[in-house]
């Protein structure tokens, strides 16, 4: 029998000498997209049990908020563990060893867009008879902030009755004036909220959900003749917005959402107007009314929510 041309030890040795693997930019060597999405989500701790995140319940007691940095090595070990599935011999080990830098850079690059991908995957049920508008619009806020992938990730854990009562509260993190990309914002349970941001923020702001801003009537209202607890909407309407529609009345009655800021107070660039009565009178001039025309905006509550908070009407600073 003649000598074989190639033997297994020689093949392994050849691989050791020239260990190059198929580059991941080559379509045949690239990670399948399902795997990429799973690993990106895993790096943002999707699917990780709560006991692994907070080992001792005393670390997150009731009515508390905790801020932290994310340990990148810990999440890298998660990815290493997933890639250990099916790793039976040296061939798979070489493959992983040499693809490791490419894997890390691929996942780092995919991290900021993971939230957008998951949001697009959530099915939207269009309302009856109305065509969807604005689906192709992308939000400007989540693209703002640092584009340095693989950088520091920070976040918070909030356990409070506020999460169960207002589950859709608005959370934004700012470094100076720029908003940081929100990598993940989810309720881990009905009372615990987890948020992850790309970068180190100076302030984190929590606001009541804008769709749930409620109406406040403190005094000076009149009641129904028949029942003293029932507010006379007609009188309110005639005194506040006599010739407008329901939206104008809503704006007049809106109570600015409370904004809780953790960290440094924002530096307001708008001209400070601390005279409250002037501000409420000015509300009448802020909006224009277009009656019943859904194609055009009726009211632009143009940033007055931010202004009210900056003037201290709704915003509190807690450090």
């Amino acid at each position: 029998m003649r000598a074989p041309w190639v033997t297994a030890p020689a093949a392994i040795k050849a691989r050791l000498v020239s260990p190059a693997q198929t580059d991941m930019s080559d379509p045949s060597g690239a990670m399948p997209p399902g795997l990429t999405q799973f690993l990106t989500g895993l790096r943002l701790l999707q699917g990780v049990p709560f006991d692994y995140l907070v080992a001792n319940p005393a670390l997150l007691p009731d009515e508390s908020i905790r801020f932290f940095y994310l340990d990148r090595s810990w999440t890298d070990r998660l990815v290493d563990g997933v890639l250990a599935v099916g790793k039976v011999g040296s061939r798979e080990q070489f493959h992983h060893q040499l693809q490791h830098p490419s894997i890390l850079s691929t996942l780092d690059d995919a991290e900021p867009s993971d939230r957008g991908t998951r949001r697009a995957a959530v099915p939207k049920v269009p309302p009856a008879g109305i065509t969807q508008t604005g689906d192709s619009e992308t939000s400007g806020a989540s693209d703002a902030g640092s584009s340095d992938t693989g950088g520091t990730v920070t976040g918070f854990l909030l356990r409070s009755a506020a999460v169960s009562g207002w589950p859709h509260m608005d959370v934004r993190a700012f470094a100076g004036e720029t908003q940081l990309t929100t990598l993940r914002l989810e309720l881990l349970s009905s009372a615990v909220m987890l948020g992850l941001f790309a970068g180190i923020p100076d302030s984190v702001r929590f606001e009541e959900p804008h769709h749930g801003i409620q109406f406040a009537i403190a005094s000076g209202y009149s009641v129904q003749r028949s029942n003293s607890s029932v507010v006379s909407i007609w009188d309110l309407y005639r005194s506040l917005t006599p010739n407008e529609g329901s939206a104008a009345l809503a704006v007049a009655l809106l109570q600015a959402p409370h904004r809780e800021i953790f960290g440094d107070a924002p530096t307001s660039t708008s001209t400070a107007n601390t005279n409250v009565s002037q501000l409420t009178a000015g509300l009448g001039e802020v909006y224009q009314t277009v009656i019943g025309d859904p194609s055009g905006p009726v009211q632009e509550a143009s940033g007055y929510l931010d202004d009210l908070a900056d003037f201290g009407l709704g915003g509190e600073i807690d450090e």
Binding site: P61, S64, L78, P127, S222
Partner: protein, 541 residues
């Protein structure tokens, strides 16, 4: 979508189709007109010109019926985007009107109430075009105004007495929530039709900065507001009711002017009860410190891993937690564990990929305890990956494709190179087995035409004799016929010509064998066969 921090409000959002039955009729017809450019003169003499217009072809019509059905007697919990005050909330809600926020922007205007506002009632221009919503948020004191058993969450339409708007087009087994409310109280709370228009509106907000399930909406919400303020210390139930049914008889069109709020006045009662259809309800208490502002302001805020002064330390100063560990030999001990959340920024481990959890174990020098954080993370990743069948398949497929691509490229590059030395020289030659030619010819002839074999021909001479040009007698007769005699041939060749005589077969004629004994007695043939066989085996030609 409005920019973050902005909100747009609308008076109403008219649905494309209101609830009800519709008939759709489609009629098609074709008509054509020829333009001047398209006109082509006909060359055939005597034929009339083609007409400039084509009269029209009626393709007939088709009709169908469709029913638009929206929520009418109940609302799914998934239709509700949020409520205020929060469900089972305890807080200072005394100055706030209750409200319910719905995901569908057209929902309050999808049904048309039978009632209309007469033209005698003056409304401002902006309100006149608004449709009347069919929902209203009714706030009642849970203890004093709702009798026990008055709220039936799983009643059927059969329990609703006929009155007002007829509900006869719906089967009476449809489930709904029913609430029996005191008629006088209900009349005092219900707004007029004009005020009803003011209590519903539409909002459009930017949903990018909130959790994903809220982000599943497109930013459009419709809001229904109540008109009653809760008193201090009471538990209230807010019910989103439908204004169809017996309650529609209590609605008035014109608004009445209000009065300044007097001191506490008990609500009116008496006069029987009216059932109302309840779409959704929740309770809250106007007491305590449960508003958003109070809750958020009272939060204890610090970094993860640090505990308030005075409480027992839950973690070490590095954020590690001491856990009990059962090691492989069964002994129990302590180990340190820290999750992915750390109080100080850490560098990224650059020791490359780990191939097993044991590689990731560390020892803490100060406490001499083992740090299993990264090993635990590795094992968790492995379990999560293995539990997800799709991930495992993707991994295997990725590796397999990677290997096959690499193998292909390796083979291609190797083929381009010279094969190792000595390969071609050492190739062994295949063995040669020569076969006698004459015997081969006889065998071939026997194979081609078995009947032509008259007798055994061990020497092959009869085959030669039969070949043309090799039979001497025939040759001689052929030459004689051509006039070539012996003397002429001798003169041409220059020597004496010798013709062969008949070939003498050394074996003699062979009789046909008829029995085995004859074969066995024919020793001469057997010897000849043995000779041929030996020569074939030894390779002699």
């Amino acid at each position: 979508m409005p920019a973050p921090g902005f909100m747009r409000l609308y008076d109403f959002y008219e649905p494309g189709l209101e609830d009800g039955g519709y008939s759709v009729q489609v009629h098609s017809s074709i008509a054509a007109t020829q333009t001047a450019e398209q006109a082509v003169p006909t060359p055939i003499i005597g034929m009339m010109e083609t007409p400039a217009t084509f009269g029209g072809l009626d393709l007939g019509s088709a009709s169908t019926y469709l029913q638009v059905v929206g929520p009418r007697f109940s609302l799914a919990a998934t239709d509700i985007a949020g409520v205020y005050p929060p469900r089972n909330g305890h807080g200072a809600f005394g100055a706030n009107l209750a409200q319910v926020v719905l995901f569908r922007r057209t929902l309050p205007w999808e049904r048309r109430l039978g009632a209309t506002i007469p033209s005698s009632v003056s409304q401002p221009q902006s309100l006149q075009s608004a449709p009347i919503p069919w929902m209203f948020l009714l706030v009642l004191d849970q203890d004093t105004e709702i009798a026990p058993g008055a709220l039936n969450a799983s009643a059927t339409l059969a329990d609703l007495p006929d009155g007002g708007v007829s509900l006869s087009d719906t089967p009476s087994t449809v489930r709904c929530g029913l609430l029996n409310v005191d008629t006088a109280l209900l009349t005092s709370i219900l707004p007029s039709l004009v005020e009803l228009k003011l209590l519903s509106h539409v909002r459009q907000v930017n949903v990018d900065d909130r959790t994903l399930d809220a982000g599943s909406s497109d930013g459009w919400f419709s809001v229904v507001v109540a008109n009653r303020l809760p008193a201090e210390g009471g538990t209230y139930r807010a019910c989103l009711i439908s204004l169809e049914g017996p309650v529609s008889a209590l609605l008035t069109a014109a608004p009445t002017a209000g009065v300044a709020p007097p001191e506490a006045m008990s609500p009116p009662s008496g006069g029987g009860t009216t059932p109302v259809i309840v779409l959704y309800s929740w309770t809250f208490t106007n007491d305590g410190t449960g508003t958003y502002k109070q809750l958020m302001e009272s939060l204890d805020s610090r970094e993860l891993g640090s505990v308030p002064a005075g409480s027992p330390a839950a973690a070490l100063d590095t954020g590690h937690v001491v856990l009990e560990l059962d090691d492989r030999s069964g002994a129990t001990g302590s180990a340190l564990y820290r999750g992915p959340f750390v109080p100080t920024p850490l560098g990224r481990d650059s020791l490359g990929p780990y191939h097993s959890a044991d590689q990731a174990r560390r020892v803490s020098i100060e406490t001499s305890l083992e740090d299993v954080s990264y090993a635990a993370a590795f094992e968790l990743g492995r379990l999560l990956g293995a539990a997800n069948a799709r991930v495992a398949q993707d991994l295997l497929r990725w590796r397999r494709e990677s290997y096959s691509t690499k193998l292909r490229s390796d083979t291609v590059s190797d083929l381009g190179q010279k094969p190792p030395s000595g390969l071609l020289e050492n190739l062994p030659t295949p063995p040669q087995r020569p076969v006698p030619t004459v015997a081969k010819a006889g065998i071939l002839a026997a194979i081609r035409n078995p009947r032509s074999v008259q007798r055994a021909d061990p020497s092959g001479l009869s085959t030669v004799e039969g070949a043309p040009g090799l039979n001497p007698a025939k040759l001689a007769s052929a030459w004689t016929a051509l006039g070539v005699t012996r003397s002429v041939a001798a003169q041409a060749l220059g020597q004496e010509v010798v013709t062969g005589g008949p070939v003498i077969d050394p074996l003699g004629p062979v009789e046909a064998v008829t029995s085995v004994d004859d074969v066995l007695a024919d020793t001469a043939s057997q010897e000849a066969l043995t000779d041929v066989r030996t020569s074939m085996l030894e390779g002699e030609t």
